[in-house]
Each structure stands twice: as C-alpha cells, then as structure tokens.
C-alpha cells in the first residue's frame, strides 16, 4: 500500500486518506461556459508522469492537501501543501 505524506500527520497509509483526484481550479460559476464547466467536472489529464493531486486525510487530521506525484514511480516529488495555502482559483 502506498504511503502518502500528509503535511500534518506525516506519512500515512493511503487507505487512511481519500483520494480526491487531480487538482483542478474551479471556473467562475457565473461566467463559465458549459464546455468549461464540464471540463472541470469530467475531464482529467491522467498523465504518465508528474501529477498535482488532492487528498483528504480522512482518518487523521481531516485536512485537504495537494501534492505532486509521479504516476509512473509513485514518488512524491513535492512537499505536500495544505490546499488553502494555494489560494483561491489558481
């Protein structure tokens, strides 16, 4: 089982967390076109390589955070970042 580095709890089993998925900005709900909004809902890059993704530490600190993982090697290349610190709608 993969170990996921939670910024608060430290390394935890992936089963202790919920995988939220690829981190993606939320379009402005008042101006987004249907195409843009549905891309936000359904489209994923799914790269073989570096991916910024969001996790929720469900059994631990109950915080959402993002980190960068190499989907080929499962190595986490960046220290995890609490999501809030990324700022709104990057």
């Amino acid at each position: 089982m993969l170990i996921v580095p939670c910024p608060n709890c430290g390394p935890r089993n992936a089963a202790d967390l919920r995988y939220v998925g690829e981190s993606r900005p939320r379009p402005d709900p008042n101006s987004a076109s249907a195409k843009e909004w549905r891309a936000y809902l359904y489209e994923r890059a799914n790269p073989a390589g570096l991916l910024r993704e969001t996790w929720y530490c469900r059994s631990g600190c109950r915080r959402y955070f993002t980190l960068e993982r190499d989907t080929v090697t499962n190595e986490f290349t960046n220290p995890p970042t609490p999501v809030a610190k990324l700022g709104k709608r990057p």
């Binding site: 089982m1 993969l2 939220v20 929720y56 109950r62 709104k88």
Partner: protein
C-alpha cells in the same frame, strides 16, 4: 516398509507414532513426518492423477512446490502434502480421481490425447455456442482442485499489522545470517521461514551443514530475532507493504501479517529445476533435493535401485545419501557428457532408463540434478527484471532496489563463508538503510519522538559481489517430456504452440497455460523459456522471462478475510428496541427497528394518537462561527442569510454536476450556532463536502463543523396527540401553536434532561416534534415518553411506518426517489433553486437544468382500476401498447390511511401532467394502468395536520 534406521539429521520423533488414513486406509508415521514422507515410508508411490491426461503421479520435488502432491485433508482442499505435517486421525485423500486413484476411468488414450494439446480450451470447445453448458461440465472435470465443503465451520483467522525495521524472507543460512546482522545493530527484525524450521538446505545436508544450521539458529534465538516458521512472505507491495501468512499461530488457524518493512531482505534460496525428457512424470522420477529430504530428514528410502543423473554437487550428494541408505546407485554424470533420453516402464512406476549412449538400466528411482531456478518473485514485485546468466544457467537480479536487498542463492554462489559474509553485509546494509528511513519517518510525524541531528544519508551498497558457479545448461533431453506438471503441458505442446505463432513468452504462457497452474512457475518457468528459446533458435536471454506476481505461495481465502471487521452502529435506545420485539434492518451501518410487528398499525396509531420513532441515525452537524450563513448558502440551493434564531429551514444540496446530493433541515440555535441535519446515509459525505469548501475555496470563512450525530438521541414524536404529550414532559417550553410554530426550534429540558432541543417539522405529515436528547440520557427520555403517553395511546413506530407515511405525504427520499442523474429541478422544488445568489455548489448546472425540458420529473402516481395492487418498486412505466420505457416507479406502498396503493415515480415530462394515464409493467409482466396525481402528497395535500 522403507523406513530407514535412525538418521543423524532426522526430524521425526520415533517415540511418537501418529495414525492417519490415506483414501480410507489406515497409515502410520511419526511426529515430524510430512504426509509425503509418511506415505512414502508406507510404500505409497502414486498420490495423484495429472490434470488433463489423468496420468498417475508420484512425489517429484518433495517440498511445498511439488505439483504432484496436492491432496485433500478432511475439508481442506489442495493441501501441499510434502509440506503439511501429519496429525493424529488426519483423513488424507487423493483429489479429483474417479472412481479411484488406482483406476481413473478418465485416463486418456493416445488417440484422444490429440484433443488436449496446447490451446485445447480455445480449439476444441468453442463451437457451437449452444453446447457451452455441456463443454463447461467436461472442462470442469479437468479442474485439478480438491473438494470444497460448504459446511466447513467458521474458524478463527487473525490479522496483524507490524512495522519492523527489516523483514527477512527465508530462514536458510543466508536469511539467518542476515537477520542476525540486523539484530546486532539493535534494529527490529522479523525472520520468516516457509518451512517448519530454520536451516534451509542445510537441514538435508551433511553433518557439517547441520552443525552450521544449528549454530546459526541458536544465535538467531539468542539475539532476540522474531522468528516465524511455517510462514510465508507472499507478496511485496508499494512502499514495502509486505504480506506474510503465518500458519503456526497458537490460537488462529492462520494469521495474515501486514508488515510495513523499512527494508526487505529476499533470501528464499534456490528451487531445483526438473529436467525435460520422455517419461519424466512417471512415479519414481525425482529431483535430487527430494531424495535428500526423504533420506536425511525423514529416514525414508524412496527406492531400491536408483539411477542418478547429475550435473552438480547436490546430485553427487544425493547419490552418496542413497548409497548410505542401502540403495543400489548408478551415476550418470552430465559434466562428463553423459545423458538420459527417456524413462522406461509402466504408468505407475519408472522401471528403467535409456541413456544417451544407448544403454538401458533397470531402476525404480530416477533422480535428476539438472540445475536451479532463482525464485526472484519478491524482487519482481519490487520492480526488478531478472537477467539470464549463461555460465551459471540461471537468472539473477539486475535492478538495484533501495529497500529490497537480495542475498543467498538469489545473489550468487561461493563457499559457506563467502555466502554468510554476504548475508551479514546485507543485514548491516539493511539495518543502516532502515535507520535512515526511520529517521525520516520520525522527523515527519508530529506525534513521534523527536529525532536528533541531520537525517542520515542513504547508505550505499558496497557489498562485494558473490561469485557465480558455472553450471551446465541442461533443460531438455533429445526427447519431449512434461514441462508444466500442474497443467500437463509438454515441451511438444510448446513447440507446436510456437509454430502456431504463439512465440512470445507471455503469449505462449497464456495459450498453453504453462506456469499458470498451482505451481505458478516455481518449477517450470525456466524450462518454458528454454523450450521456447530452442524452438525460436534464440538464447534464453533473448527470449526473457515472465514476470512473477503475488502471491509467492497460495493464500487461503480465510487468511485474506482475516477477522472480519464489519462495524455496526446503534442508538442509545437500541437495548429497548431489542427488548420490545423490534424487527431490525440494516441501513448502511446502522441497525434500526424496521417495525415492531405491525407497520400498518403503527401508521394508523400515529395518524390517530401519537407515535414515537428513534431517528438517531439522522445526520447532525454542529455549525459554529460568524460565517455559517455563507456556508449554508453555498451548500444548499436556497437562501440562508436571513434565517432567524429559533427558526428551521429545509434545503437540498447538489453536487457540482447539479445532481441531488442530500437534503434536510437546518435550525438556528443561537447567534452563531446552527444545527444541520442530513440524511442518515449522507452525514459523512456532507461533512467532508462542507470541509472541502471551507478548506479549499473559502479558507477565510470562520466556521467550525463538528459531527454530533450520535451525541444526540433523536426521537420523532408524531401524531395529533403529540402536543399533549410534550406538554407533560417539556413544561418549560411554551408549546402553544402560535408560540412554537411549524419550522421552529426550541431548547428544552425534557423529562428532566436539560440541553435538549426540538423542532417542529413533519416528514410523516403529522403534527410532530423532533426531540434531540443528549445521548447518555436518550434511553431515559424514550422510556419517559412511553410512560407519560400511555393513556394517549402512544406506540413506537419503525422505519417502515415512517416510509409509508412519508410516501402518503409525497416526500421523496434522496437515493430512493432520486438517482445519480436526478438534478434538483426534477423533484418539484424549482422554487428552492435561487439563481440570484452569487455562488453555490452546482449553480451553473442547475441554471441549465432549469431550462432543460427533457429530463424526467418526479410525480405522484396511483393505480386506477387496481387500487389494491401495489406496483413493484423499480417497475417500468412504458408507452401504452409498446415496450418503450418512459419512466419507473421509485416508491410504492399500500397506504393504511387511504386504503389504496400510492406511488412516487420518475416519468418523462411529456407524461407528467396531472391526470395522464400511465402503463406500469409489473415484474410478472402484467400491465396495469395508473394516473399522475396533481400533488406529490396523496394524503393531506394542504398540510393542515402538520401545521396544527
């Protein structure tokens, strides 16, 4: 009898005879005997039939991997009989033989055998399709498995997690030496041995070997190493998540250990490889290791006249062991260019052998020592791709892996001192790397002991490489023989398959099923590759090998299941429900009273008098802070900025795709204090959903969300007499209809319990008070209500009565009347979608959904001419006279209040107008007519009762 006089290395206890049965026949052995050694000592030669051709088979490798040694022990199928020790009264039987092991009528003659060649599954049994049921029956008789007993009692399987610094897989000399070196550094090490005792191949060696084994085992014990024998490292997964099946646990039948090893050392030793030649599967053809284990460990003489075909020192040692045991031995030495061509004799035993020089020798035991397979499984699972070494005639690891280290036979050869020094160096390296991992873990973990100083660097691998002994490349003789004994696949099948075009190793494997049977490649992988290489005219290195995946050895379902963790939740009132005849239902993890014997009666009583229901599972989130209204406005589709203290409002929540996620009421208890309720199943989801918005999009909002679902026992008090009842128990609250109105909330002391709150809402459609009582006193209040309401006709009601009443009232249930595509406008609550809010979850989709005129809508439906017929839930609604589906029934019950059936259903908008006639197809095919109703509520559409 072929039991030898006492041998110096024997592991049997002759003072403890053990009686057991073989196919019903009384047998005897000694404590320490495997089933295989006891049977062989008792003169048994044939123990199984081959899978396809039903050929008689005897022990060949005499170890866990022996493909011919699978037996049934009592209700336990597929037992590895050369590994399992005998126990008193054990009932051992041959598997899948008919009518008997000696006379299997399915034995295939030469004529029929051509239908069973490579790919026979695909060729012989494909057409015509309508014959498949017959084909399946035929094919299933080829299943090599034992008998499953569905009445097997449940046995205790256990599970354990552990975090050792180092796990060592393999308790031979290398594994022991490595574990010892780890322990000497003070690190925690778990040493796992597949067999019943530490020692590995030293156990069937000479005096010197056994002395070394005993010394190492004693040192391991003295060093405090945790040793698991009769246990197997079955898999290595991401980040060294290591699965170990422990079979020697004192309490559990088996225990699955999930070890997070900082470093894993693979030291499984080598597996002896069979030689491919005509007749190589006849009983009496054995590997050198098999013979040595029989003679030296179990004092069993496996034959009386032997020919030993040897290419290495183990074969030489086997010949010497046999001679010492009084067997007449002829040696055929591959290193001198001698060879064997075919085994001779009948089907039940080898009778002789034809040599390459044309000689014919009589024998009842033909031993081969043709070389080794390196079981690189754990390295494969870690990302290694082993590479073939021509000179040593076996595969070696090629990719260095930081936290998985190989030693022993996997890494090379050498004299015992060299091997042990390599293992010790491996242990020291593993311990040093584990220290570095440990330092990082501690430094990154808030709760851990603080660590001093800089993180240690990653210790480099400076172990000197082990030498590799040259070995003749011996795979197949000039004749064809069996390659995969489990699957009955011959080298001839493989050459044929390669000629048909299945000439890549992975394709060949799948087409012929070679390496896919119970032995999973342990004995046959390298021969498979070698035969294919020969057929393609290439080298083994060019052909490459297949990838070994978990498990290393078969794992029982019991071990995987372990102790079953199936959490269940109950409310504080649960003991009362149990004592008062409730019939329970499982709702998610909640155990809830479905009814107390008469759901229709419960409905009638609630509508006439007063009923109480335990609704504790209702999700409850305590919300505090100045920005709660902003959060509510964002989660719900309607408006929340002006909810007054003391008021309650209903709302629906949608996901970002506009689909209904949950619904419920939220009340404002104080200036900055709200209580949100969710559906019972939605509580956790809504909590995470709220946290998601607070943490990611709106970290500036000051809101604390705390789940308090089971902190309150929630009791719905419903019915026309509910106010009278509440007046008796909540005297400090003004319950006058004008003082405490519908959709309001009050804090209260109820039945002497302070800190309760209650609100007036009406899922059942009756005047009702939903009480929320601190859970430690929930049972007392429940009992207090029943006592105080006795003269009012109070009765409890369960989930079924509630479901009936809400359906009579046309209230939908998220997930029952809505599905994964139902957006908010479809349920008749368009007025609750407030697009003039700046933002809320799912807003764009809901804006578009409000314009959508094609999506199904939820309507109330009543059967017309058949008022007593209750349509099945999920029954389809079709266009009259056709099979075109235009809707479905989502909820359906007989209404005790209206004496007719009532439904909710989703239909296309074109047939959603009140009065529209619908055709409902019942599960039995009958079609009935139903009508769309004007209101969702079948009962009291004006809501007079609930507001009373």
């Amino acid at each position: 009898m072929t039991r030898l006089p006492p041998q110096p290395g024997e592991v049997i206890d002759r003072s403890r005879p053990v009686d057991f049965t073989w196919n019903g026949r009384a047998m005897s052995g000694f404590a320490g005997d495997t089933i295989a050694s006891a049977l062989t000592a008792g003169g048994v030669r044939v123990v199984s039939r081959s899978m396809k051709y039903r050929r008689p088979r005897g022990y060949m490798s005499n170890d866990y991997w022996d493909p011919n040694g699978l037996v049934q022990v009592g209700d336990d199928p597929n037992v590895r009989s050369a590994h399992r020790l005998i126990e008193p009264d054990m009932a051992v039987e041959a598997q899948n033989v008919w009518p008997s092991l000696e006379h299997d009528l399915r034995a295939v003659t030469g004529l029929a055998s051509r239908f069973l060649t490579a790919g026979f599954y695909y060729k012989t049994f494909m057409r015509p399709m309508w014959l498949w049921p017959t084909y399946e029956k035929v094919l299933s008789t080829f299943s090599p498995g034992g008998r499953i007993d569905l009445d097997t009692p449940h046995r205790y399987h256990d599970k354990r997690y552990t975090h050792p610094d180092v796990v060592v897989a393999g308790g031979g000399p290398a594994g022991m030496a490595a574990a010892l070196a780890v322990a000497e550094t003070g690190a925690m090490v778990l040493l796992v041995e597949h067999g019943h005792r530490l020692g590995g191949h030293l156990l069937w060696g000479d005096d010197h070997d056994r002395t070394l084994a005993a010394e190492l085992a004693a040192a391991v014990e003295a060093a405090g190493v945790e040793v698991l024998v009769d246990s197997t490292v079955t898999g290595r997964y991401e980040d060294n998540w290591t699965a170990i099946v422990q079979r020697n646990h004192p309490v559990a039948v088996e225990r699955l250990i999930k070890a997070r090893a900082k470093v894993l050392i693979a030291a499984p030793g080598l597996i002896e490889r069979p030689y491919v030649f005509d007749g190589n599967d006849k009983p009496g053809v054995m590997l050198s290791g098999a013979v040595r284990r029989f003679v030296n460990m179990h004092a069993v003489r496996p034959g009386s006249t032997a020919v030993v075909f040897t290419a290495n020192s183990d074969g030489d040692a086997a010949a010497a062991d046999l001679e010492r045991a009084g067997v007449e031995v002829t040696v055929v030495d591959a290193r001198r260019g001698e060879g064997i061509v075919r085994a001779l004799g009948g089907s039940t035993s080898v009778k002789g052998v034809e040599l390459a020089d044309g000689r014919m020798l009589d024998c009842d035991l033909l031993v081969t020592a043709a070389g080794w397979t390196a079981p690189t499984s754990l390295l494969n699972m870690s990302g290694d791709r082993p590479v073939y070494d021509d000179a040593a005639a076996r595969f070696f690891p090629s990719v260095p892996i930081g936290n998985v280290l190989a030693t022993g036979g996997l890494a090379g050869d050498g004299n015992p001192d060299e091997l042990i020094e390599h293992a010790r160096a491996t242990g020291r390296l593993a311990a040093a790397r584990a220290r570095a991992v440990s330092h990082r873990l501690q430094a990154a973990t808030a709760r851990a002991q603080p660590v001093e100083g800089e993180a240690p660097g990653w210790p480099p691998d400076i172990r000197p490489a082990l030498p590799r002994d040259p070995h003749p490349a011996l795979f197949r003789s000039t004749t064809h023989g069996v390659v995969d004994f489990s699957e009955d696949v011959s080298s001839k099948d493989m050459v044929g398959a390669a000629a048909e075009g299945y000439d890549s190793v992975e394709l060949l494997k799948r087409y012929t099923t070679a390496t896919m049977g119970p032995s999973q490649g342990k004995l046959e992988t390298v021969n498979t590759v070698a035969v294919l290489a020969e057929a393609r005219g290439q080298t083994i290195a060019e052909v490459g090998t297949t990838v070994w995946r978990p498990p290393y050895a078969p794992v029982t379902m019991g071990a995987l299941g372990g102790r079953l963790f199936e959490p269940v939740r109950v409310s504080s009132v649960h003991p009362w429900h149990e004592a008062n005849g409730a019939t329970f239902m499982l709702a998610g993890q909640w155990i809830r009273p479905d009814h107390y014997g008469d759901p229709a009666g419960e409905v009638r009583n609630t509508r006439q008098n007063v009923g109480i229901m335990d609704v504790t599972p209702l999700g409850k989130l305590d919300l505090r802070g100045p920005d709660v209204p902003k959060l509510l406005s964002h989660l719900y589709t309607n408006k929340w900025m002006k909810l007054a203290v003391g008021s309650v409002r209903y709302g629906i929540m949608c996901a970002e795709d506009g689909v209904i996620l949950d619904d419920g009421v939220t009340g404002r208890l104080g200036e900055q204090h709200y209580m949100m309720t969710t559906t019972s199943s939605g509580a956790a989801t809504v909590w995470e959903w709220a946290e998601n918005w607070l943490q990611t999009e709106h970290p500036d909002w000051r809101v604390h969300v705390t789940p308090v679902t089971s902190g309150y026992t929630s009791i719905n008090v419903a019915g026309p007499k509910s106010r009278s009842l509440m007046r008796r128990l909540a005297g400090d609250v003004d319950l006058d209809p004008d003082a405490f109105r519908y959709m309001q909330v009050r804090t209260a002391t109820v039945a002497g319990i302070p800190d309760c709150f209650m609100w007036r809402i009406g899922f059942t459609g009756e005047l009702s008070f939903e009480l929320h009582v601190p859970a430690g006193h929930g049972l007392a209040v429940w009992e207090g209500l029943l006592e105080a309401g006795e003269d009012l006709g109070i009765r409890p009601f369960g989930v079924e009565a509630q479901r009936i009443m809400r359906l009579e009232k046309g209230h939908f249930i998220v997930g029952q009347d809505t599905d994964g595509l139902t957006k908010a406008p479809a349920v008749g609550l368009r007025h609750l979608i407030k697009l003039d809010k700046d933002d809320f979850a799912g807003k764009p989709e809901l804006a578009w959904a409000l314009e959508d005129t094609s999506a199904p809508v939820l309507v109330a439906i009543q059967p017309t001419h058949h008022g007593r017929v209750v349509p099945d839930e999920a029954a389809q609604i079709v266009r009259p006279g056709t099979d075109e589906i235009i809707g479905r029934i989502t909820s359906s019950r007989m209404s005790p209040s209206l004496h007719r059936s009532v439904c909710l259903g989703q239909v296309l908008p074109e047939v959603s107008d009140p009065g529209t006639e619908l055709t409902v197809v019942m599960l039995d095919g009958r079609r009935i007519t139903a009508r769309v109703m004007e209101h969702h509520a079948h009962f009291d559409p004006d809501g007079m009762r609930v507001r009373g």
